[in-house]
């Protein structure tokens, strides 16, 4: 500014005129027709996004289970394509994109936008990286932080999870910079379900373990091509058993767990297997 003030007035005027001229050259003529075109482009882009979302979700539910997740995974790419095409058309309408103009625009705006939209850009960058690293995809069931659910939408800035209690949670992509993402199925239809059982110390392990294997094998939800495992662990208060098995469809995770629990408990009752007796606390006891 001091240097500019030192310039003679005729030179100052020339510099200012030059900048105005450059700005005028950068902007294309804004006509009514172009405004109408821009509105149309935006409207069509929104309509295309809406239609694509609906079409992909509908199509994924119509095809056999094997293809459901593959179709859902394509949704972010379609959305990115629509955004890119729309943005390119809009920019082409209102800006004269010569190499000099592009440099001028980006150079001027970068610093200002960088501070204002730091987190937004961070989320978008994380979203683009996640497309290639794939910590999660549409259809996956993931834990991020305290949230667990199925990824139902993959936007530029965020993802949407549908939780088991039918809540929709929106999470920005930039969470992956700092938080672990626990993916239970990683693009597969099956995900391991762990069902916990607690029995008394007196219970005979060789009697219970084969029983739990049969409980898993006879469930209509079990994917028999995946392994079934029973893990037994002794605890001070009793015996902790974990039945690890896979349902045919990860969406049946909770109804599968209920089925295993219900049928196992029926067998425990049939065989007279007892549950742990927890000690009474309080009443002067140490």
């Amino acid at each position: 500014m001091i240097m500019l003030a030192a310039l003679p007035p005729w030179l100052l005027q020339a510099v200012a005129s030059d900048r105005v001229e450059r700005f005028r050259n950068l902007l294309a003529d804004i006509t009514t027709l172009k405004l109408v075109q821009a509105v149309l482009i935006v409207a069509i882009a929104f309509a295309a996004l809406f239609t694509t979302d609906r079409a992909i979700n509908w199509l994924s539910e119509q095809v056999p289970r094997q293809y459901r997740l593959s179709i859902k995974h394509s949704l972010p790419f379609w959305r990115a394509l629509i955004f890119s095409v729309s943005l390119a058309l809009l920019v082409g309408l209102f800006l004269n994109l010569s190499p000099n103009n592009v440099l001028a625009v980006t150079g001027t705006a970068a610093v200002a936008l960088g501070f204002a939209f730091k987190d937004y850009v961070s989320s978008i960058t994380a979203g683009i990286l996640a497309l290639f690293e794939r910590p999660y995809q549409v259809g996956d069931r993931i834990h991020i932080g305290d949230v667990y659910g199925e990824v139902t939408a993959y936007g530029l800035r965020s993802i949407q999870l549908k939780t088991p209690s039918d809540d929709t949670v929106t999470l920005p992509h930039n969470l992956i910079w700092n938080q672990p993402v626990i993916n239970t199925n990683k693009g597969d239809l099956e995900a391991q379900v762990v069902t916990h059982f607690y029995l008394d110390h007196q219970v005979d392990g060789p009697q219970v373990i084969p029983l739990l294997y049969r409980v898993a094998y006879t469930s209509k939800y079990t994917q028999l091509q995946m392994p079934v495992e029973v893990v037994l662990e002794d605890q001070p208060w009793g015996t902790h058993l974990q039945l690890k098995a896979y349902p045919m469809d990860v969406r049946d995770e909770f109804v599968y767990q209920s089925d295993l629990t219900q049928r196992a408990k029926h067998q425990f009752a049939r065989l007279g297997l007892s549950y742990p007796h927890l000690p009474a606390w309080g009443q002067g006891q140490p």
Binding site: L59, V63, P64, R65, Q66, Y217, T218, M248
Partner: protein, 394 residues
């Protein structure tokens, strides 16, 4: 948008099955567009006649040869004391094995039916299944009295997909492995075998099961030719060779149209006799205006349409579980089906009734079973929906 959605919906239904061609669509391309399927009464008469047919000769030949070879190997070289014959879920395994038992007896190789008093799966609680099997095996003659070949006509009758139902077949497996003094001929539904192999390692007692051979077009013609049926007109699909009696046709074909028909039948039925019989009946059409006399066992004119497997439309995930359970066991009563699905009988009954109305499920007495005509399409559908089906077709 609505028509596009409808188009996509129809296209997707076709993708879901391997042979998803609808008879309605084929009929529309033909000149004789006023043809309809035989009335139910006539179809039932035809099906009854098919059930009374002797087994296809290739089935008996293959099982007989394999059984005698396995017996010889067991006696001379100490080979496995067991031969398992795998059938498709829509086959009547017990009928096939009992025919083989009878044939072996006629040839001087005595063979005892371990389940001789069982006409179908015993209607007992799964906790009593093991006891029921024990009672049946105790009635077997002693080793010193007879040549020790024992047959279990239908192993799928000996288990139910329930915890105690599996215990019964595990006990049976232990008994078979322990009893090396007898040779066991076992018939089993393929899907049941794969399921039991996965859950109980039943394949340990018989590492190389025998599958029924696929019937060729000529085999099917020879088998179905035993029926007294009239061939009036062969109705062809567009693109089929002209129907004419060609002198240079190889036996047993009398015309190109006949050959084309049986080739399509063998292909669409995957060479399975039960499926082929159903498609054969469904392919018979009569003019819509013709009404056979009540009680008559034949129509005036019969038109033989290309045999197509029907498509199972609008089946839900719950329907797939029910259909898979029926195919896994061959046939089930309502109470056993409810046990297998861990569901309420009333709910299963309503579901089964709806599938029965769609002709996907047949109810014969108290037993429910899948309509064999739908088997190829259902098999493909269940496989694509991640069900554990019985391996690939032979």
């Amino acid at each position: 948008m609505q028509s596009l959605r409808q188009f996509l919906s129809q296209w997707l239904e076709k993708v879901q099955t391997s042979t998803p061609v609808d008879v309605e669509n084929i009929r529309q391309t033909l000149d004789r567009s006023s043809l309809v399927e035989l009335p139910d009464a006539l179809q039932q008469l035809q099906l009854q006649a098919i059930r009374q047919l002797p087994l296809p000769a290739p089935y008996l030949r293959e099982i007989d040869q394999s059984c005698l070879a396995a017996l010889e190997k067991w006696r001379s070289q100490g080979g496995p004391n067991c031969l398992v014959v795998l059938t498709e879920p829509v086959d009547d395994t017990a009928v096939i094995l009992r025919t083989v038992i009878h044939q072996l007896n006629l040839k001087g190789q005595p063979c005892h039916d371990a389940l001789v008093d069982w006409l179908q799966r015993p209607e007992v609680h799964e906790s009593q299944l093991q006891q029921t099997i024990e009672t049946a095996l105790e009635a077997l003659p002693g080793l010193e009295t007879d040549s020790p070949v024992v047959a279990i006509p239908a192993l799928e009758w000996c288990f139910l997909r329930a915890v105690e139902g599996i215990e019964a077949v595990e006990w049976l497996l232990q008994s078979l492995l322990a009893d090396r003094q007898r040779f066991w001929l076992i018939g089993c539904n393929r899907w049941s075998w794969h399921y039991l192999n996965r859950t109980c390692s039943i394949g340990a007692c018989c590492p190389q099961p025998l599958s029924l051979p696929q019937l060729s077009p000529a085999d099917l013609k020879q088998w179905l030719g035993k029926l007294d049926c009239q061939i009036c007109f062969w109705v062809q699909s567009p693109g089929d060779p002209e129907s004419s009696a060609a002198d240079d046709l190889a036996a047993p074909w009398e015309s190109v149209a006949e050959q084309t028909y049986f080739e399509a039948l063998a292909r669409n039925a995957f060479g399975n006799a039960a499926v082929a019989g159903r498609l054969w009946v469904r392919s018979q059409h009569i003019p819509a205006e013709e009404k056979p006399l009540e009680g008559s066992s034949a129509a005036e004119e019969i038109y033989w349409m290309p045999p197509m497997t029907p498509t199972a439309r609008d089946i839900t995930t719950a329907d797939r579980h029910l259909l898979f359970s029926l195919l896994l066991h061959g046939s089930l009563s309502l109470s056993h089906l409810a046990t297998s699905l861990a569901a309420e009988p009333a709910q299963v009954q309503a579901q089964g009734h709806r599938l029965h109305q769609q002709k996907l499920v047949e109810i014969i007495g108290e037993q429910m079973a899948v309509n064999p005509a739908f088997y190829p399409g259902l098999r493909s559908n269940l496989k694509q929906n991640n069900f554990y089906i019985g391996g690939d077709l032979p």
